[in-house]
């Protein structure tokens, strides 16, 4: 089929990006590391195998998902190799694991309604994971978002977001007709029915807990935003967004005045130049990196992104902006914009309301995550501890986002057969 060949061609471009990027880093250091190229070649082979296998079983999912993602993965691997060469192998392994998760979810989630029946279980798991982090979380690298279970350490919030979107899609789908019309009047006030308000209030509470306990404004914004927008998708009532937004703002203002550490977060965002060597060090260094990169960048290995703390995880976007310039950072943003556009397209072409809500929810989740992290490191929004999907170093994020992509891929198939 023609599109399959085109997909293969695009995957080849992603492969060339990865190879040439790694070679550029190696050549700048004056020695070619054969192991690195072997690892990269292994990963590249695995993505061609995945593409071959998924098309072999007759899957007709969106042919842009894999290539777009692989370019992002390639950029991430190049930057991890340049910033923390020791972590390169592990990141490649995570990418391979992500691909495996992708093909599994792309295959199994073809039977979505079956999974939707267990929405409450997913919801409980999601909330439990988030609460567990908030309460038992350990701080690693400045983020209190890690759970350590014996030898295993992971960031449950990454997984929790999938469960929560799943739960919301199922819950909202079931009560959709109810939500659209049911309101309750309290004198002059017309409020949504408590049945609708309940999950929204729950997520709002969760977001506030994250804000206060984890000092993570961005995550709070992004969970709550996803829940709110999904509710809007299901109900079509803009008043819910207004109410929800008001609730969130009230919560934030209250937190600003009650909790000093929340205030610090806000102040860093509003006036970073007041304390550029202290509290605002990270964001100011990130801005320096982006500005020094300019349009063309310093060239791989010729910049100084290491000055920024946590550059290989949360701040990898600033490192890309410094060494590859706006050419690199802009390309990464365009890749995300394409990917998110395709995700919304999947939702629009879905054949059932549950599919539509789920795909829409994932598209919103992805879009908000990109807005929050890129906005965070560029001072567009308050700084937050969210990873840049597929690019930042880290297994939890990589595996979850691949899982999300696999589900979208599965839903896109239903749409494509219908169309």
């Amino acid at each position: 089929m023609d599109t399959i060949q085109q997909e293969r061609g695009l995957l080849l471009i992603a492969a060339l990006v990865l190879w040439s990027g790694l070679l550029a880093v190696d050549l700048a250091h004056g020695k070619i590391n054969v192991n690195t190229l072997l690892i990269a070649t292994g990963l590249i082979l695995s993505w061609f195998v995945i593409q071959f296998a998924i098309r072999k079983i007759g899957h007709t999912g969106d042919p842009l998902f894999l290539p777009l993602t692989m370019v992002l993965v390639a950029v991430g691997l190049i930057m991890v190799y340049r910033l923390k060469p020791d972590l390169f192998l592990l990141q490649a392994v995570w990418a391979a694991a992500g691909l495996a998760v992708f093909i599994l979810s792309a295959y199994f989630f073809r039977r979505l309604p079956f999974w939707a029946d267990y929405k409450y279980i997913w919801g409980v798991i999601g909330v439990a994971l988030l609460l567990a982090t908030a309460i038992f979380g350990t701080e690693i690298g400045g983020h209190k978002s890690w759970l350590i279970l014996g030898p295993v350490r992971f960031q449950p919030a990454e997984f929790a977001k999938l469960f929560i979107v799943f739960f919301l899609a199922g819950y909202l789908d079931e009560r959709r007709s109810l939500l659209t019309f049911a309101t309750k009047s309290y004198g002059p006030l017309v409020l949504p029915h408590p049945r609708f308000l309940a999950p929204l209030l729950a997520v709002w509470g969760l977001a506030m807990v994250m804000l206060v306990l984890q000092r993570d404004l961005g995550s709070a914004l992004f969970y709550f935003g996803t829940a709110l927008i999904m509710t809007y998708l299901a109900s079509g009532r803009k008043s819910f967004i207004v109410w929800g937004g008001a609730l969130f703002i009230v919560g934030m203002v209250a937190a600003y005045y009650i909790f000093p550490h929340v205030r610090v977060r806000f102040d860093i965002w509003l006036t970073p130049w007041a304390d550029p060597n202290g509290k605002a060090y990270q964001i100011v260094q990130s801005l320096f990196a982006l500005g020094s990169g300019g349009v063309l960048g310093s060239g791989l290995t010729y910049g100084f992104p290491d000055i920024i703390p946590e550059v290989h995880t949360d701040f990898i976007f600033a490192a890309i902006g410094e060494e590859m310039g706006l050419m690199g950072s802009g390309a990464v943003m365009l890749l995300y914009i394409f990917l998110i556009y395709r995700a919304f397209r999947v939702s629009l072409q879905a054949t059932t309301s549950f599919d539509m809500l789920l795909a829409g929810g994932f598209a919103v989740l992805l879009a908000l995550q990109i807005l929050v992290i890129i906005g965070g490191v560029t001072k567009f929004l308050p700084l937050t501890g969210v990873t840049l999907p597929f690019v930042s170093y880290g297994g939890s994020s990589m595996v979850t986002t691949f899982c999300l992509l696999g589900i979208l891929f599965a839903i896109s198939e239903a749409g494509s057969t219908d169309a």
Partner: protein
Amino acid sequence: MLDDLRRNVRMIGVLLLGLLVVLFVYVSYIQVVQSDFLAGHPLNRRSIEAAAKIERGQIQDKHGQPLAYSEADAAGKYQRYYPYGAISAHVVGYSSSQYGTTGLESAFNGELSGAGNPQHRFGPISNLWTAKAGNNIVLTIDAALQETAYWALGNRRGAIVVLNPRTGAVLAMVSKPGFNPATIDDDWRTVTSAPDGPLLNRAVQGLYPPGSTLKVMIADAALAEKIADTKRIFVCEGSLKIGPDYELTESNHQAHGKLNLEEALAVSCNITFGRLSLELGRSRMEKTFERYGFSRPLVGELQEVPSRLPDFSRLGDGDLAQTGIGQSSLLVTPLRMAMLAAAFANKGTIMRPYLVSRITALDGSTLKEIAPAEFINATSPALADTVKRMMVAVVNDGTGYAAHLSGVQVAGKTGTAENPHGASHSWFIGFAPADNPEVALAVIVENAGAGGEVAAPIARQIFAQALR
């Protein structure tokens, strides 16, 4: 029902993609419009980190002795070392990550740093011309002579400039008080707040009245303009009334009686030289200063402060006479006085003073050689020879006897310059050996009294070291 849902999804999709486009525009704004501001922000350590990644070139004395060099520390970052510390501080300058560069570290920053400032506008392409190491610069300075001059000044404020009169090469240049360029970051507060200005390079930036050292130039002018010959006899009565209300006096009100030009220079007779200045008149005086290059700026690495010459057309007779004995509003640098001495040592021609003789690559191969060049032709060889003989008399029989050196004929002139800051500045300018000059110098010691007593003995030590 599905259509409603689809409409909602479409609206949210457009909204969120729109927000992402806004973010895209914002990131472009930061990386394009704000790029210069952020890249050049003083808190942005990138240019310093870039400089620390390559080995800055050495600054060497004429024999290859390093005056400044860089060495990598354990972390691979280059640190700057100054083995001569304060001795060569004003020549070499400092290279500080916090306070920038001065002296030759600044004037030759491009060569020393290998022109290594990455031009962020050119992106990765600029890496093609970014050097791995800077070039060395080889100076005309003789480290041993520099050291002698430094210690000869002792703890007094002042400056010494030693030149090779035949080439203009600066053999030593000392300014006191000094500072240690290696510890400038730590000492910054003390050094910048000290009242005697340790960072000021007095040799090229200190402006002083030249006092009687200027008389050698007036002697030449009088001979050149045929106002006097070597035989003309002057009468000094200890004071000279000029106009209705001004009287020029000898420093100790002592009358020198009858003397010729050579004798007048030897005893540094103010009356004779005041009278000669009046006879020369304003325009010929101005011409003389021009002839010796005082009004022509020195371009290049010496970073000299221009001399302050009086506005001759508006000068009263009293001030004109004062200018002729190096007083009034006339202010010059020690370098200029060394150049004046060099004129008589080099047959009337002043060579352009310079500090850097060669630029070499890391492997020692010469990349650029700086050839000596004429700065100005001040006077004729014959007149230069006549003034030289007078300057010999100053050292042999006159005020400059303390500069006398056995076995080597020294020529010179002392100066005791009155100034509004306290005791007179002690001057000596001169050269040696008189018949075949190898070194010319100027020594000034601030507020130290008579030139013959303080500056001349210092000059003697320097001649002894230079002609060893």
